[in-house]
Amino acid sequence: MDIDDILAEVDSHAIPHETQDLQELTRAWVTERSAPELLPWPDALMERTLERIRRQVRHPPPLAPSPLADTEPLSIKIELVEEQTGNTDPKANFRLIIIQTELERFKYLVRSFLRARIAKIDAHALHHLTDPTAKARLSPSELQYATAHTALLHAHYHSSFLSQFPASLRRMDDTAGGISMVEGPDVDKAVFVRALRDVDEPVYVDGTDTAFEMRRGDVVVVRWSAVRGIVMAGDAELI
């Protein structure tokens, strides 16, 4: 660990945990929205975020002159405040609006993140169930969803047309002739990357003569497979 790392640590300690988590979640969302393949499930981060949202919904920060008990859900409070508009303290009312607005922004972020993941799982369901690395990136509930969804789809295909085929042609994951039927995402798709740190090793693009260096703040358009390792190590982000 050199002096830069120590300073970086001191620096990041100055930022509250909540803000750090917001930054991480935002980065995870942008990266997931931009990357052509599914990324590892950020387990600890999602747990903390969901727990915080749950807490905020159940126990919003105490409102100074509120006549209501703190244990009541925010939604009830909001309804009550809405009913009493005009005769409650307008300040407490406005604080609730801020809390609610922020909560909605957070929920949107989480929702969009999960939906982007589901879209990728749907597009290549069998790939995510058969390929071990891809499978390891699913969260438990995503795995359950993918399994159930594929089973339903299989049953439906089978009852509607696959049963009419000769038995040897009924498989959905055939690898006959050296070509697998299971399609994965196109990992060579072009992405916009921004370096977060100086990358020491030059980045090579497989199968070409291209090698380039990335300095902090650089923005390049390059195929995803060339920068996948750097992005997953946290040295760069997609934009």
Binding site: L7, A8, D11, S12, P16, E18, T19, L22, Q23, T26, R27, V30, R33, S34, A35, T49, R52, I53, P61, K91, F94, R95, I98, I99, T101, E102, L103, R105, S112, R115, I118, A119, D122, D186, D188, A190, V191, F192, R194, L196, R197, V203, V205, D206, G207, T208, D209, T210, F212, R216, G217, D218, V219, V220, V221, V222, R223, G234, E237, I239
Partner: protein, 233 residues
């Protein structure tokens, strides 16, 4: 249930991201500090300047509870000098300098507060400028001039984006330092499409090269010969 959008942030999502930028606010009313999900909000005491995320600043501004102090670069003299610079080079003007010891990136850099550098356009310059011009017109000095200069800047930079298409290639990286968030959102489909298309055209060449290299590695020959292999199409 699955998101029906193509990969990459849409302009609306980029605007959402931009609303997390910090701006400087001069409150007109007191407001106690709040514990929000994304960290604490400091108490507002007029007339002390306070940094707040843009979404909250806009909320306060629309209710006339605060004034927004526009970032220094959003002023006619700054925009003028940046515009002159943009006209003089084929690349984008350099982004504001980054803090040395951290990996934070936009929208979490202090590039839109009152202390932001006046001579560089931050990543979210277009979205931020538009939003402030729309909601906080009266807080910006010479808003009409600012609007005109923003439009000029946008045109100059868009022309550069279009001119940059000529250097796109399937296998190479394309440097786009200084590009803005909204510009990425607008150009992504086209630039990504061209790069992907060229890559597919060159795919067989690449594949044979990869096979040859693998063969050479197996035979123990140091692959030094690079004949007939340039990627230009």
């Amino acid at each position: 249930m699955a998101l029906p959008l193509p990969p990459g942030l849409t302009p609306a999502e980029t605007a959402f991201l931009c609303e997390m930028e910090m701006v400087t606010v001069i409150p007109r009313q007191r407001l106690e500090g709040l514990e929000l999900l994304g960290g604490p909000i400091p108490p507002l005491n007029p007339p002390y300047r306070t940094p707040l995320p843009l979404w909250l600043a806009l909320l306060l501004k629309r209710q006339r509870r605060a004034n927004i102090l526009p970032p220094p670069w959003l002023s006619p003299p700054s925009l003028h000098s940046i515009l002159d610079f943009e006209k003089s080079t084929p690349s984008f003007s350099p982004p504001p300098p980054l803090p040395p010891y951290a990996t934070t990136s936009p929208p979490f850099l202090p590039s839109a507060t009152a202390n932001a550098p006046p001579d560089a356009l931050p990543y979210h310059w277009l979205e931020l400028g538009e939003m402030l011009l729309e909601a906080a017109n009266d807080d910006i000095p010479e808003p009409d001039n600012v609007r005109r200069l923003m439009r000029d800047l946008r045109e100059v930079r868009m022309a550069k984006m279009r001119a940059g298409v000529g250097v796109l290639e399937g296998g190479r990286e394309v440097n786009m330092n200084g590009v803005g968030g909204m510009e990425v959102a607008e150009g992504r489909a086209f630039i990504g499409g061209v790069v992907d298309g060229l890559r597919k055209i060159g795919a067989s060449k690449e594949l044979s090269r990869r096979e040859r290299e693998a063969e050479e590695r197996e035979n123990g020959i140091g692959g030094g010969e690079e004949d007939e292999d340039d990627m230009d199409i």
